[in-house]
Amino acid sequence: MLPADCSRRLVAELQGALDACAHRQLQLEQSLRVCRRLLQAWEPTGTWACEPPPEPETNEEDPLPACTPSPQDLKELEFLTQALEKAVRVRRGITKAGERNKAPSLKSRSIVTSPGTTASTRPQSPGQAGGHASDRRPTKGLRQTTVPAKGRPERRLPSVRDRTRAGIGARAPRPGAGLRNQHMAPSAAPQAPEAFTLKEKGHLLRLPAAFRKAASQNSSLWAQLSSMQTSDSMDAAAAKTQFLRNIQTASGGSQPRLSAAEVEAEARRLRKACSLLRLRVREELSAAPMDWMQEYRCLLTLEGLQTMVGQCLQRLQELRAAVVERPPLPCPVGRPPRASPSCGGGAEPTWSPQLLVYSSTQELQTLAALKLRVAVLDQQIHLQKVLMAELLPLVSAAQPEGPSWLTLCRAAHSLLCEGGARVLTILRDEPVD
């Protein structure tokens, strides 16, 4: 049995590692759910199927509590009208192509939905490129084709159509947040609904216009901002440095104090130094010199390494002296992330959007796998150091009698030397008396 405080520390560390993995696993699974759902056939949203096609007046009969201000209503009405206008246009186009009558009715039902409209209407599955509808082969259904199969009431449609014609007012059509018109496959038998899959029709998707506009404005502003940063005006930069200098001198200190970030960066560098030095020392100590020249060089290297280790130690002691740890304030904001030791450097968090380009599934998988591997190795090395610090003293201090000591040795060997993956066997071989 391990002593209590040692147990507590070890269990806490291992449990922490387990929790971190569980958390990451959870994130992955959530994301997997979303991705899988996207790759399957897209279903109509549940509520949609039962919704009657909205008429402009239905807004008031909205089952949802009417806490909408009426300007909201007007906005939604506009969307609706616009969508209906599109319906008319498309329907005319379709009729010209001599499609069957079924199409218009289905279409009008589909068109009334635009995402901007209220919750009473549920928009449909992603539209296809509406404008080129007539060019495309009568497309297989989107989920609207399944709708007729559900036996939608047809009687309301003529009224909607009428209203469409009537309701096209003088409102200037706004580029709505509308999905493009879905095209009904008139010939595609509603009897055999073809579901929408990303694989077959993914390239036909179009983002809503309003979103496109907003996103492009957004990205161009970001681009402007990043280009402005790189070509920072001389005035501004000079003014800033001058101000900083002024503040420094006004406070009487000639040397700027070390910030926490700098201390951390220095500590990180020294950690890296430590591991590099250790590796090198091992190499030199295990190398067998052939002749006196090599021996001499080996000796010189070791002496040089010794000096460097001494310098690093001194620097570390200086750092420690400079850091006075106050009792940590109860920090309600949570902790900032702990930089992992292999994280490249104290780079400023970049704020400008950047892309990461990959060219094949394989590459992406390799990249992700390597990232995970490095993180796991980090975790493993940290655990190794903690285990070494706790277990080795125990093994050396324990009395080598009794089975419990053997258990401890076996466990220590497994944890420390095999990463917990394998266990050695101890064979009791009493000498024959």
Binding site: S7, Q15, A20, C21, A22, L26, L32, V34, E43, T45, P115, G116, P123, S125, G202, H203, S216, N218, M228, A236, A239, A250, G252, V263, A267, R269, L270, R278, L279, L299, L305, L313, L316, E325, G334, P336, S342, C343, G344, G345, E348, T350, W351, Q354, L356, L364, Q365, A368, A369, L372, A375, I381, K385, C409, H413, L416, C417, G420, I426, L427
Partner: protein, 490 residues
């Protein structure tokens, strides 16, 4: 301290200063009005609490939320002081300010300007609250598998624990690692497929295909179909505190897009009065998540414009700040080495440094012994070899080679490794030819860097394990009557 001579041209640009301050105020989240800045110059007390709160927002490492807003002013002030201290803020007057917000607005204004001068604070804050539209992947390793803060209080071990329990926990961990690997491989495959199937869709030619979040938006614009209940609730807890950017978004993969959107409006100051119910379609709001998204984008664009305006009119502001500084009394020179307080960087504390110090000390010991031994042996040998001129030339040559090698070794850690991989998430984009602009990262290069990191870490791990093996062998091997059979090799 000499006052700066007021630039005569500044008079001509008199209008520029109010503009600059207005732009600054617009670009700060829930920014104080320009009046506050003006009052602060004259050290008016009514400007103080607004500035404390602003500094708190700026310095807080996590994106704001309702939780932060409810912290008392005194606590905020104290945290601001320690954060500034840990960043190396030189003015002592700030540390001596009362924390109740009764005075000190000029000092706070100076502190704010100091922060603004040191780094791109506004841009960083904007990046913090960006809603990622793409599939984001971080390049650096921060938070890759970091622990979630203080250990959960479910620690069973209150007493002594059998060491075999540790072995069991370790085995569990090994299994979880394997599980992570396979889940991640699957996720990459699916993500890649989605990118492949939607190529040619995106309006932005640079991107070329939809991301999962965008595809999800098209599939389910109303957000009516959410991820199953439990998942949704958890996503809210984990997704946002993990930050968007400042604290490096973990890994890759889209969070459930719509659940995040319910949270975003909490960041929008003022104009978003209705608290949205994250659990489901809110009864009070009839706006679809798409509309919410559009509003967020618009809001962000307004702030971006404000930051651009600020950048253009910056020089005027700095001149003004110099005058503000001029009105302060000069401080007495501080004691040479003020201790640096690190309350907001608890992890960098003594724990890590301790381990390193101990390692270096062991190393030093080892080296001392080895060097002594070898030096003695060498001197004995060298005495016998004579002292011809080739001898000393050879020795000099060896010395130089060794110096060069060691210098290279030292440079390995003194210089930062090349172009440091940027923190923060990057949007994943699939391109068959792998062409990338100069600001973009290529997967192939990252793979190379990661491979070398991996090799380095594996070497360290192997070496540590070898060390343990030696020590344990030393401790256990001497006992009679026991045979130690190592496990079958890998």
């Amino acid at each position: 301290m000499r006052r700066r001579r007021v630039d005569p041209a500044a008079g001509a640009r008199a209008g520029a200063l109010p503009e600059a301050i207005a732009a600054l105020s617009r670009s700060l989240p829930s920014g104080p009005s320009p009046e506050i800045f003006r009052r602060a110059k004259f050290d008016r007390p009514e400007a103080t609490s607004a500035l404390w709160q602003l500094l708190f927002r700026v310095l807080s490492p996590l994106p704001a939320g309702n939780a932060l807003a409810s912290i008392a002013l005194e606590v905020q002030a104290r945290l601001v002081k320690s954060a500034l201290c840990s960043q190396g803020y030189p003015r002592l007057a700030l540390a001596q300010l009362p924390e109740d917000g009764s005075k000190g607005s000029r000092e706070l204004l100076l502190a704010l300007s100091w922060l603004l001068a040191r780094g791109p604070v506004l841009e960083q804050m904007l990046a913090q609250t960006r809603v990622p539209l793409g599939d984001e992947m971080t390049v650096c390793q921060c938070e890759a598998l970091a622990s979630l803060g203080p250990p959960a209080p479910h620690m069973e071990a209150e007493g002594p624990v059998d060491v075999r329990h540790m072995q069991w926990l370790m085995g569990k961990l090994l299994f979880r690692w394997r599980q992570l690997v396979s889940s991640q491989q699957e996720q990459c495959a699916l993500l890649s497929k989605i990118h492949l199937y939607t190529r040619g869709c995106h309006s932005d030619q640079n991107l070329g295909h939809l991301s999962v979040t965008e595809a999800e938006m098209l599939r389910d614009p109303e957000g009516g179909q959410k991820v199953s209940g439990a998942g949704a609730a958890q996503n809210l807890d984990l997704a946002y505190p993990k930050g968007l950017h400042f604290s490096c978004t973990p890994g890759m993969g889209p969070r459930t897009f719509w659940n995040d959107l319910w949270l975003v409006p909490r960041l929008l100051p003022g104009d978003w009065a209705a608290p949205l119910d994250p659990g489901g379609a809110s009864a009070c709001s009839l706006l679809s998540p798409l509309r919410v998204l559009l509003r967020t984008l618009e809001h962000e664009s307004r702030r971006l414009e404000a930051v651009l305006a600020w950048r253009r009119s910056e020089p005027v502001f700095w001149q003004w700040m110099d005058t503000v500084l001029g009105t302060c009394a000069p401080e007495a020179p501080a004691a040479a080495s003020q201790p640096t307080f690190l309350p907001w960087v608890p992890e960098c504390g003594d724990g890590e440094l301790e381990l390193v110090v101990r390692e270096l000390q062991t190393l030093e010991e080892e080296l001392r012994e080895a060097v002594e031994r070898r030096r003695v042996a060498w001197e004995a040998k060298a005495r016998g070899c004579g002292r011809g001129p080739e001898w000393s030339a050879a020795r000099r040559a060896s010395r130089e080679t060794v110096e060069k090698e060691l210098g290279a070794l030292q440079r390995c850690w003194e210089q930062d490794s090349g172009p440091a991989p940027a923190h923060g998430p990057h949007r994943l984009v699939r391109r068959e030819d792998g062409a990338a602009g100069d600001r973009d990262l290529r997967a192939a290069e990252l793979i190379r860097t990661l491979r070398s990191q991996e090799a380095c870490l594996e070497a360290v791990l192997r070496q540590l394990q070898g060390q343990c093996r030696q020590e344990l062998a030393g401790l256990t091997g001497a006992l009679p009557g026991l045979i130690w059979i190592p496990p079958p090799g890998r």
